[in-house]
């Protein structure tokens, strides 16, 4: 309850800030969408030259893409860790966080909420609806609850992975360059992982499990039975990776408190 109250308060402040820079808000929305559009163009271009990608047709791949956008938007809105190292470690704002009576990671999430990202989720839902109806997918009683559950699980996976990586900033030679590179890699979870070789499949499934934020959960709605088990595993993977992330984080904070910046 306390944290929910804080979230609302921070969102209010975000809105007040943004009202002073209204143009930025739209520039951000547009550049986000443009970013998604380029990936979309990639899919369209590919299917100009082939009918199937590892046994998946264009509508299916587009559907997966649509699903991928939903948790990604939610994640980017509430868990925005860009520039953590720069702002909180180098400029020392972590000290201020630590002198306030709320959980430190949560404070950082709150201070960086980014509502424009939710537009991406919205577009993703539309993409799913369009490609889903092209495919004649039925809307079952479990579709909506499952969509919510799998979205939350995927958000937990993202949060786990990025929190783990960000907590490396607490070490002296912080890998500031990893995050943008990770952004490239996560996009690979949107394509049928079966097209990759074994090593990359294992990597994207169990080590940096980006397959669980795209192809696996989406396969459930596409009635792709070969990936059903994987789809149902998503919540579990979410829990596991979120725990890893939180553990890495508290370890990092402990180290920070031991060593300073």
């Amino acid at each position: 309850m306390y944290y929910l109250g804080l979230l609302i308060e921070y969102l209010k402040n975000y809105m007040k800030t943004r009202l002073t820079y209204r143009a930025d808000f739209w520039v951000e929305v547009i550049s986000d969408l443009l970013f998604q559009a380029t990936n979309f163009i990639f899919i369209l271009v590919i299917f100009m030259h082939t009918d199937s990608l590892g046994g998946w047709n264009q509508n299916e791949v587009v559907f997966v893409y649509g699903f991928f956008m939903v948790p990604f938007g939610v994640f980017s809105c509430f868990v925005n860790m860009w520039g953590f190292s720069e702002r909180y470690i180098v400029k020392g704002e972590m000290d201020r966080i630590l002198t306030r009576p709320a959980h430190n990671l949560f404070q950082i999430f709150l201070e960086n909420v980014d509502p424009p990202s939710l537009f991406g989720s919205f577009i993703g839902l539309i993409v799913m609806a369009i490609s889903g109806s092209n495919l004649g997918l039925p809307f079952e009683w479990w579709t909506l609850p499952m969509l919510i559950l799998l979205t939350l699980s995927a958000v937990a996976i993202y949060t786990g992975i990025y929190t783990t990586l960000t907590s490396l900033s607490f070490y002296s030679d912080a890998p500031t360059g990893i995050l943008p590179l990770m952004y490239n890699i996560q996009t690979y979870g949107r394509y049928p992982v079966t097209i990759y070789n074994r090593a990359i499949q294992v990597l994207l499934t169990w080590i940096i499990p980006f397959a669980f934020v795209g192809i696996y959960p989406a396969a459930l709605f596409l009635h792709r039975d070969e990936m059903r088990t994987m789809a149902l595993l998503t919540p579990l993977v979410g829990v596991v990776f979120l725990s890893i992330g939180l553990m890495a984080w508290s370890y990092g904070v402990k180290r920070y408190k031991g060593a300073g910046s």
Partner: protein, 290 residues
């Protein structure tokens, strides 16, 4: 990263500039120092470095398998054979390691926190210094990421590299121009922070546009005809697509000189907005007081 550190130490006395032959030599030395310092700065982040190699190799791998799936049983796509595509993917990702930098972000940070004013009154050319720092970063990635990455990629995937030295020499020259053009675009994006309140969106768009339209993600010939004909008159193809085509052997003989010509022309054209922006920025900084 430690940009402040790097620019704050234009050692070897170069910053005084001096006059005459000696002064010029000192200044030149200072510019080389910027390359060296950036190189050393990059070296200091070893986790970055190790993960960089892994991630670049992974990128090549994923793209390789994606393209293999796209090819399916087909022989050729948009004039690329499967083998050529593999090489193209590997080479363009490795080239990206060299030409990619965050000069846009660095410059707009300098502008927003006001430290550019100090940079502008130092006796060197700010844009040139940024270029040098970008080059130091590029050289670091070239030697420490690209070469080992290329070796790993050739071991793992059927990459076919040309054997004649002339192709390599040509490639290196073109790679240098890729760097120049890509950095010029970054500098233009960065300096725009002088004139728009927040150029964050522009920087993001630039990044996306360069990756897509330079042919890194999809070779330009695979785009629909109307789009690829538009892209042929834009500078982005000179960054990845054209040098990659030469290196994979798709462009040969006179064509190679054409490619180099296009790069040189874009380099020269892009100088114009940079000079203009630089001038306008100074004007704004010193006449209107920021």
């Amino acid at each position: 990263m430690s940009e402040k550190l790097a620019t704050a130490v234009p050692s070897s006395g170069g910053s005084r500039g001096g006059s005459g032959e000696n002064g010029r030599r000192l200044l030149l030395g200072a510019y080389f120092d910027f390359i060296r310092i950036r190189f050393l700065t990059m070296l200091a982040y070893r986790v970055n470095y190790y993960s960089g190699i892994l991630i670049y190799t992974l990128n090549i791998g994923v793209n390789y398998f994606t393209w293999r799936a796209i090819y399916g049983d087909g022989e050729s796509l948009g004039g690329f054979t499967g083998a050529q595509m593999t090489t193209y993917v590997a080479v363009s990702w490795m080239a990206r390691a060299f030409y990619f930098n965050n000069l846009d972000r660095e410059i707009s940070t300098d502008i927003r926190d006001g430290s550019i004013a100090i940079q502008f009154i130092r006796p060197y050319n700010y844009v040139l210094v940024k270029m040098m720092q970008g080059l130091g970063e590029g050289l670091f990635r070239f030697m420490m990421l690209m070469i080992p990455g290329m070796v790993i990629a050739t071991l793992l995937f059927p990459v076919q590299l040309p054997t004649e030295p002339s192709a390599w020499a040509g490639f290196l020259v073109m790679l240098f121009f890729s760097f120049l053009i890509s950095s010029q675009i970054n500098i233009i994006t960065g300096l725009s922070a002088f004139f728009v309140e927040n150029n964050e969106g522009m920087m993001r768009m630039k990044r996306v546009v360069v990756d897509l339209f330079s042919g890194l993600i999809v070779p330009i010939t695979l785009f629909p005809d109307w789009l690829s004909s538009v892209l042929k008159v834009l500078p982005f193809q000179a960054i990845t697509y054209l040098p990659g085509s030469v290196f994979t052997g798709r462009v040969q003989g006179v064509g190679i000189w054409n490619v180099l010509g296009i790069q040189v022309i874009w380099f020269l054209i892009l100088l114009i907005p940079i000079v203009w922006l630089n001038h306008a920025a100074r004007q704004r900084l010193f006449v209107q007081g920021g």
